[in-house]
Each structure stands twice: as C-alpha cells, then as structure tokens.
Amino acid sequence: MTDLIPVLSDEELREINAEIAHVPVPAAVAIDALKIVQAHRGWVSDESLQAIARHLEMSAEELEGVATFYNLIFRRPVGENVILLCNSISCWIKGCDKLQAKISAQLGIALGETTPDNRYTLLPVTCLGACDKAPVMMVGEELHENISEQGLGDVFGEDGG
C-alpha cells in the first residue's frame, strides 16, 4: 500500500530538507514539515502525513500525534480563507458570541464548517494575542481588531461574500 503514497513535491521537499539541515534528527522538524505542506496544500491529508512521516523517519502514529495536537494543523480540508474567531475571555466579554452568530448567519456555516463555494472556513481560536483590541479575528493572514457586527459587513460583504 505504501507504494501508492504520492511523494511530496520537490518544492515541499526542498523546504523540509532545509529545516532538517538545522537539527540533529529529522523528526525534530515535524511541526515545520507539517506547516510547509499545509502552506502548499491548505491542509494535511492522510497521504501527505504518511509521506512526511516516511521522510522524517517517524511512524505515522508519531506524526499524527503531533499533527492532531495542534489546532492550526488542519487534518481536514479548509476553505481558501480560514476565519479564526477568538473566543477567549477578553473577546468573550466583548461579545464574540454575537459576532459568531452573525458570521454564521451571513456565511451560512457553523463553527468548523466551510462555505459551499469553498471561500471560508469558520473556526474558533483560543487567543490571537490582541486582547487589548478585543474582539478580534483573523481571516487568512489578516488580523481584524475591535470588530463590530457592522464591521463584519466590510470584511465579508453584506451578502456574505
């Protein structure tokens, strides 16, 4: 069955190998390798995970333990833009629940879901390190601060994007 696993792309391998050059054992770059593959593919599939594990001389279980420990390594497909809505204490005080309801209504997706057009995936996150500007969320690489229900329209458009 192992023969069926697609090899990682040359670009992915080049980047992973560059990381390996800095560490004593390949398994030490497990997180970096997962991030590299996710950067290229949006998420980490079973096949990708098995390929990375083989490249890093780890068992798939060892790497799966790492991959599933971190909530920002995606082991299921996500949309083009991942919305990370903070629900930690500051953002909660400042009404993130209402924001989430609004986003869900606007985009038609609950937490953990992806819009049918594959543009957005909505996920909760425990902290984005910007409590002084709560409530906050990230959409893709961009941090949105002090968001209000009205402000959401600017981000997603009135029609939900």
Partner: protein
C-alpha cells in the same frame, strides 16, 4: 533504611523508593492510575495524592501540603497522612474528574469485575456524579483480531502508550489530539504491530483495550476457574493464569514470576492457547478399521487395545519436547530407554543437546529474564528472539536502558523517575549487537546489526571471542573488535544465541564469547534459546545418545521393534513427508497419543486423546533450566485423559514392576527425579498433592463464582458433585484459602477491594519483588567449570554457490509454533509460507516480489518476498509453516520460478466496524 510516619504509625521502608510503592508494599491502600510497577512514575493522573507534613508541629496543627505519592521519595523522618481529609477529598475529586466522560457501561464492559477504575472509584468513596454535560464519544478502531478497542472508556492515564511505545518499543499506537479530545489509537485502523500488544489488556486500568477473543466468548473474572500454568508457546516458560468456563478455555492472563515473565507475556503466549477449544480436539479414542476410518471407543476398551498392542509387540516410543517430563518419562519407562526417541527432528536433536551441553559446561551464568534485563552489553548471535523466545526480546529491550539508569544514578535520580530518565537519556542506550541471517524486530534498539549467513555469524562470534582473549585481530574484523570492546567493558555482559538459525557452530561461537569473557574475569551470561516448552527437559531426560528417528527406523527395519507409540508429537512437522511415511511404515502398529487431529494421528492404528496443558498436570523445563509445574485448569471430558494417566494405566495393566509404586502424579515426578540425575530437582518445582494451605486446599474458583447450580440446568437440575483433584493441592471449588500459599500454587490474584490484576502487590513482599510464597520453579542448571577457550577460528566463511541457495530458517511468532497457530485470532495473523531473497539474488532469477519460487526438486513452492536484509546466497524460509515442512535448514537448494503460480490479490484490511458490540 529510612523510617517514615504514615498517619501516626512509623514504618521502616526500602531506601530509594517512592511513597506509593512503599505504601502498597506495607499493605496499605492508596489509589493510583498512571503508575505501574514495571514502568515507574510520571505523576500524571494525580490520583495517589497524600498529605505531607514538614514536621510534627505542622502535623499536629494539620498544616500539610498535598504531594503525589508516586513522585515523592521516601526520606528518613518524613511524615505523611493518607487519610487526611484534604487528601481524601482531593483523590475523590480526581476520580470524579476522570469519570466525566466515562460511560456508565460497566454491565456490558469486558473489564467489569476486574477493573482498576472500578476499584479505585470505590476506594476513594466517589459515588454521586455531579457532571450533567454531554459525554464525549469516540469512534473505535479495529486493532486486529486480538485486541478490542473501546475508546469512550478512556481516562487518559497514558499507561497504554507508555507501555506500548516506551516499554515495548511499538510505534503504531499514539496519543492523538489534545485536551478532552485525546484519543489513544492508530493513525488508521489496522492490526497492532507489536508482538507484545496483548499486555495492553492488563496494562489499561479500564476497558479501553480488552481481550477480543474473550469479548466475543465472555465470562467475568469472578466466574472463571483458573489454575497456575506455564505457557507452552516457546521455551521461555512464562507463568500464566488460564481461565475456564463451561469446559472452554476463555483467556490467559499473566502470572507474575519475578525471575521469569514479571508482569508481561507475549501475544503468542496470551492468545496462543485457544487451540484447547479447537474443533480438531480429539474427544474419543479411535481404532482404525480396514477402510481407514476410525471407530470411537471408551477409555476402558481403548486401554485394552493399548495393553494388547503392548503385549503383542516389541515397543518403541517417540516422545515430545512439547509435553511434560512426566509423560515422556512414563513412555520411556514403557518402551525402554534404548527404544525411546525424544521426538526432535533429526537435525534438531544434536542442536538441543548442544545447547544443553554448552550451558552445563560454560562458566557463564544461564540468566533468568530478570538477569537479562540487567545486562549492560549484549551480543545476539543468529537468534531472532522476538520470534523464537519472544519474552526475551522484551527483556533485551529493557536491558538497553541500563545506560540511561547509569546516567540517572550519576545525577542521583531514582530509577522510578521514568519521564525524567527518558528525557535525560534520549537515544543513549547500552550496546546491543545483533547478528542474524536477516532483519529482526529488535534491530531498532541495536547499536549494530550484521546480516550474515550462519557460518559467517559463527566466524564473527569466534573473532569476537579471540579479540576478547587478546589474540591479534585479522584485518577486516573491526566489527569483532568493536563488539569485543563493548562486551569486555561491561559489568554484566550477555551473549544470546540458540537453535533458531539451526547452526551448532553459531551456538559454539556464542559459548566461546561467553567463556572468553569469563576467562577475562567478567560476570558473563550465556542464554541459549531452544525451540519448545520442554526441549531442555527432553534433552536432560534422554541424554545425548538417545536414538533419533533414523535410529528407530533402522531398529524397526531390522525387526527389533514393531510397535511405535507416539506421544503428543506431529512427526510430519519434523521431517519431510516421505521420510516420516517411511518411518511409520517400518512399524507394524502405530499408536498415537495426542490432543489434536493431525497428520500423525491420521496415520495411527490406535489414537488416544490426550488432555492439553490446560487439562493436565506436568513439569516443563524452560530454556534457562527452570523446572516448572502446570496444573489442570479444568478436568478434561470423560474419555480424554492426560497422557500420563493413559501411560500409567497401561503400565499397571501390563503389571510392570516400575508402576508398582506409582499411585499419584507426584510419584511419577519423584521416580523420574530418582532415575535421571539431571532432573533430580524437579519435585521441588511445586509442593505435592499432600500440601495444604493452613489446613485446606487452594480453590481454583473465586469466592464469588456464580451459577454453578444453573450451569447444567438445561441438562439436569441436579447439580453434579464437583470433580475431586487427587493430584494437587488445588481444588475445583471455591472453598479453601487463596492466600499466602507457595508462589507456584497461585490460581488467581484477588484481594478485598482489589478485583483487578493490580491486586498482585498484596501477594508480593514488596512492590516488584518476589511473591510472598516464593518464586515458582526450580533451577536445574548450575554454571560449569568450563573448558578453557582455545583460539578456535570457527568454521570456514560462507561462500555463495552459483545456482544454489542456503536455506536459513525465518522464525515467526505467529506461524512457526504448531499449536498457537491453530488458535482463533492468531490463525488470522499467520501468513502463508514464504521464501525471502535479496533483490540481487531475485534479479538473477528473474523473479519479483509476490512471484512463486520452486525450491529444490519439488521440495516446496512458496511465495517470494524480497528482503534486502537476507545475505547473498541465502534464502530465508518460513520455518514451521504449512508448505515448508520439507525444507531442511541450512541445506543448499536450487531455486527457479514456479510454473503456473497465481499471485495473491492485494489484501484489504478488514474491519469489524469498530467496537460497541460487546
């Protein structure tokens, strides 16, 4: 020794331990989950919380602090309270939190009644659950035919991964996800790959990992009848506790023996006894008719037939290395030593005799498993112990950690500080060198592996011995010098070899290394694996000059003997079919005593059904020369009898003088000990049938054993009298005393409040120490004075020959042993017989992985597996597998593509759809 105070009472405790160990060792109750006596402390579950006081003043004021027992060293003058209110409340709260997601499914859980979580919950007094939220639920995984997975029950103590990965070296079980999503399982469904996965059943404190065979044929622990037994899966002699109900062997649990298996078994041992329930078991004696079919007889008529045959004929006998010393001794008595063959294959007999002789002669110590774990440098020569004597491999895995313990000692860390020591040591290991004719499952912890033909293994071994002795090295023997330096630099060096690669030269080289180390003043150990549960006992019984099959055949052909009795031995596994046909054809009559229908019973004129190890008493001599007694777990059906009963009855019918004084099983043991100097110690393996524990017998049934009246109510409402056991100190009842008896007579572990196997510490003098009643078994071998090592250079190096390949046995934990391979679950894991070649050799033959190869001139047709660890010029073959019987180890054979070979379809991994169905 430090004195500590617990709740106002002063106790003297062992220095260097932790409080939890000390507390349990003192007989006090303190709940715990993540700690395990064989795996040390990590302080993760917070269950063993106690209050520690700074001094007496703070004790009186009740101003203490909560500490974890498992992480707290015992120091002189330390003051603790187990019963202190806050500690008690804390422990109750911990159980309540661990139970948040635990289902209320005890009535349908296979762990129920022997669940550590149940015991601890009751112990802390937690009763009412306050949590009203939803419980997490998980999908279960198919983990193979042996282990059942029910993840919802998990309390995240991490014992499973600590055992599976850290202790047993498995890689395919991990803690996945985080927080309250944690999941212990595989990346994808599939068979757990570790040969020791079955211990998860006993390691898991609740019902996440349970015995899948038991789950589908279930009986609660308290309803099982069990007896002390010894595993017959290989020669290690692990102590086991098989459990029975309704005449069926339900499961095998570990029976603690501090010097042998400790807390763990291998999967062949745990799951390989299911053959006892096989449809192929013989229930009635059978007499062959003219048409080749058999008439069933009762045992009286069968005995008449046996007696008549013995009266008419001149007897010869073939014994069995897989059954007891006593049965073999009786058959040998019946037919006479000159006409008794031990029952080894012709090529195997000199190897087993050599293994015995080398251990008797060598000044090196024959180690028990605990000593193997203590080795700080190991050389394995030619033996794939994971597949021939699996429990040794688990012990070797622990031995490589001695470097870590040494590093820890430098820092003043105690050995139970598991996480700290693993962090400290990282990949530092004591040296383990493995030399074998292929890869082995221990290679991952080896400092060096050499894949060589058997002759070259012997050469390397001799070179190591020469190097230790200081003889100048030949060029190109850097490896030998490296290994020699590692062994000579160690405090407790160990050499492991055995009959596994079928080469006497390899074992001689191993002995040469051990002897050289002794000569150099080291405390060397020499461990030689032999194939079967009583191989060594058979060699001790019969001596080196016992006739082999060829000798018996010659005697039969010369007309000296004409009636052959075969004891529990399928001869067709010990030679090629034609050869065995000729052997049997040389006799007028063939009488076979065996448990299961096989090719040999099918050739017999008279078949007598023999009780299995689980229905019979017997003494087995393990590879370390330890004689151990197994006792019947349940009586066999009426017409099936232990082989010793058949043979003793026959001797008595024949009015043989030797039988006059034999009334009980113990009498046979004693007669054997008196007659055979090498076995003189065997009566001491266990107390005799006169023994009483505080005046009463020892019960095989727990005091909660239920339904005895109802068990046969569908047949008759009259409860039959319980069978009487006249042969041992054990009884087939629940009456008696299972407490403080000799270690060899422990039928189950249970203690008030401790229903699971964790109750074991109540039977130990100290945690991890010997049983209070003493360690089971008696050692028969003493280190020899040893011949001085000569500068032997060993055999000639191996030379590959064009068009000829040397057959090297490849042993498999599942498949190479006869009876375990017939057990449910394991039968699914046995692969079809195969032949292995390196890719260059395969290329030269123009064949690829999965093609068929014909070996020799029609000797076998086997599937090819490409394996680049097989030395050039060698062909590995699946030893002991159906289809490979005709292959002679180390013979040179031709290989060619098998005509008309059908390649197998790729296998799809099956699934039972996960759990939830128990």
């Amino acid at each position: 020794m430090p004195v500590i105070r617990i709740d106002g009472v002063e106790y003297e405790v062992e220095a260097g331990g932790n409080l939890l160990e000390a507390t349990l060792g003192l007989g006090l109750d303190l709940p715990y989950f993540c700690w395990h006596p064989a795996m040390g402390s990590i302080g993760a579950c917070r269950q063993c919380a106690v209050v520690q006081y700074l001094d007496e003043e703070s004790e009186q004021a009740g101003r203490g602090r909560i500490v974890m027992g498992c992480m707290t060293p015992v120091t002189d003058g330390a003051i603790f309270s187990l019963g202190g209110d806050r500690a008690q409340q804390f422990r109750e709260a911990i159980v309540e939190s661990l139970m948040l997601n635990h289902p209320h499914d005890c009535p349908v859980c296979a762990e129920g009644g022997e669940c550590h979580l149940q015991d601890m919950t009751v112990m802390v007094g937690h009763r009412d659950r306050h949590y009203r939220g939803r419980k997490n639920t998980h999908r279960n995984q198919y983990l193979g035919p042996l282990i059942h997975h029910e993840m919802n029950r998990c309390i995240t103590c991490y014992r499973c991964t600590r055992y599976y990965r850290d202790y047993a070296g498995g890689t395919d079980l991990a803690a996945l996800a985080s927080r309250d999503h944690i999941y212990f399982g595989r990346h994808q469904e599939g068979v757990l790959q570790s040969e020791f996965a079955g211990n998860l059943v006993e390691v898991c404190p609740t019902g996440v990992f349970t015995d899948r065979i038991l789950v589908h044929d279930y009986t609660r622990k308290w309803d099982l009848q069990s007896a002390p037994s010894v595993c017959t899966g290989c020669a290690v002699g692990c102590n086991t506790l098989p459990g029975e109900r309704y005449g069926r062997l339900k499961r095998v649990h570990n029976r603690y023996n501090v010097e042998v298996n400790g807390y763990f078994l291998c999967d062949r041992g745990r799951f390989g006894a299911g053959f006892v329930n096989s449809d192929k078991r013989l229930e009635y004696p059978g007499l062959r008719r003219e048409d080749g079919r058999y008439d069933a007889l009762d045992h009286h008529r069968a005995l008449q037939q046996l007696q008549a045959a013995c009266n008419q004929g001149n007897l010869a006998g073939i014994g069995s290395p897989r059954t007891s010393v006593e049965a073999n001794f009786l058959l040998r008595t019946l037919v006479g030593p000159d006409n008794f063959s031990p029952g080894f294959a012709d090529s195997e007999q000199p190897l087993v005799n050599l293994a015995l002789q080398l251990q008797q002669d060598s000044p090196a110590v024959t180690p028990d498993l605990r000593s193997i774990e203590s080795a700080d440098a190991v050389l394995v020569l030619g033996e794939d112990v994971t597949n021939t004597a699996p429990r040794i491999a688990l012990a070797l895995r622990q031995s490589v950690r001695n470097r870590a313990y040494a590093m820890a000692a430098d820092l003043g860390l105690e050995t139970w500080q598991d996480a700290a020591i693993r962090n400290l040591a990282q990949d530092e290991r004591s040296p383990l060198y493995i030399t074998a004719p292929g890869d082995t499952p221990l290679d991952d912890v080896a400092a060096g592996t050499d894949r060589l033909a058997p002759q070259d293994i012997a050469c390397l071994g001799q070179a190591v011995a020469a190097s230790i002795a200081g003889d100048s090295n030949e060029a190109g023997q850097d490896r030998a010098a490296e290994i020699a330096a590692a062994l000579a630099g160690a405090q407790r060096p160990l050499v492991v070899s055995g009959t596994g690669c079928a080469s006497g030269e390899v074992m001689q080289a191993a002995a040469a290394v051990a002897n050289a180390l002794c000569t150099a003043g080291r405390q060397a150990m020499l461990c030689l694996a032999v194939p079967e549960a009583n191989s060594l006992g058979q060699a001790l019984l019969c001596g080196a000059d016992a006739p082999d099959f060829s000798a018996l055949q010659q005697r039969a052909e010369a007309g000296e003997v004409d009636t052959l009795l075969v004891l529990e031995n399928d001869l067709y596994r010990r030679g090629d079919g034609d050869r065995i046909d000729r052997l049997l054809a040389a006799f007028k009559r063939v009488i076979v005593l065996d448990g299961l229908d096989n090719a040999t019973t099918s050739s017999a004129d008279l078949v007598l059904p023999a009780a299995s190890f689980a229905e019979s008493e017997g003494t087995l001599v393990s590879l370390e020369g330890r004689a151990q007694r197994h006792f019947p777990v349940f009586p066999p059906p009426a017409e099936r009898r232990p082989a010793w009963v058949w043979l003793l009855a026959c001797l008595k019918e024949l009015e043989r003088e030797e039988a006059g004084s034999l009334h009980h099983f113990d009498d046979i043991t004693r007669a054997c000990a008196a007659a055979i100097p090498g076995l003189s110690g065997i009566p001491a393996a266990a107390p005799d049938h006169h023994f009483r524990n505080a005046g009463v017998k020892i019960p095989r049934q727990t005091h909660r054993y239920s339904g005895r009246t109802a068990m046969r109510a569908d047949v008759s409402v009259h409860e039959p009298k319980q069978p009487q056991d006249e042969e041992s100190a054990l009884a087939f009842t629940m009456e008696g005393l299972n407490r403080a008896q000799p270690g060899s007579l422990l039928p189950y572990v249970w203690s008030p409040g401790w229903n699971s196997n964790q109750s074991l510490h109540k039977f130990q003098g100290e945690v991890g120490g010997p049983l209070k009643g003493g360690t089971a078994g008696v050692r028969l071998l003493q280190p020899g004075s040893g011949p001085v090592v000569s500068g032997s250079t060993g055999p000639e190096p191996f030379r590959a020959e064009d068009g000829q390949w040397q057959l090297v046995p490849r042993q498999k934990i599942f498949g190479s042993e006869e009876l375990s391979a017939l057990s449910p679950g394991i039968d699914e894991l046995v692969t079809p017989a195969f032949v292995e070649l390196g890719s260059a050799d395969a290329e030269s033959l123009g064949v690829a992985d999965g093609d068929g190869l014909e070996l020799g001139d029609g000797l076998a047709r086997l599937e090819l597996r490409i394996n680049d660890c097989i030395p050039a010029g060698c062909a590995g073959f699946a030893a002991g597998h159906a289809g490979a019987e005709n292959l002679q180890p180390l013979a040179r054979v031709t290989l060619r593509r098998a005509e008309g070979w059908q390649r197998r379809e790729p296998q799809i991994i099956g699934s039972d759809g996960g759990g939830g169905n128990d």
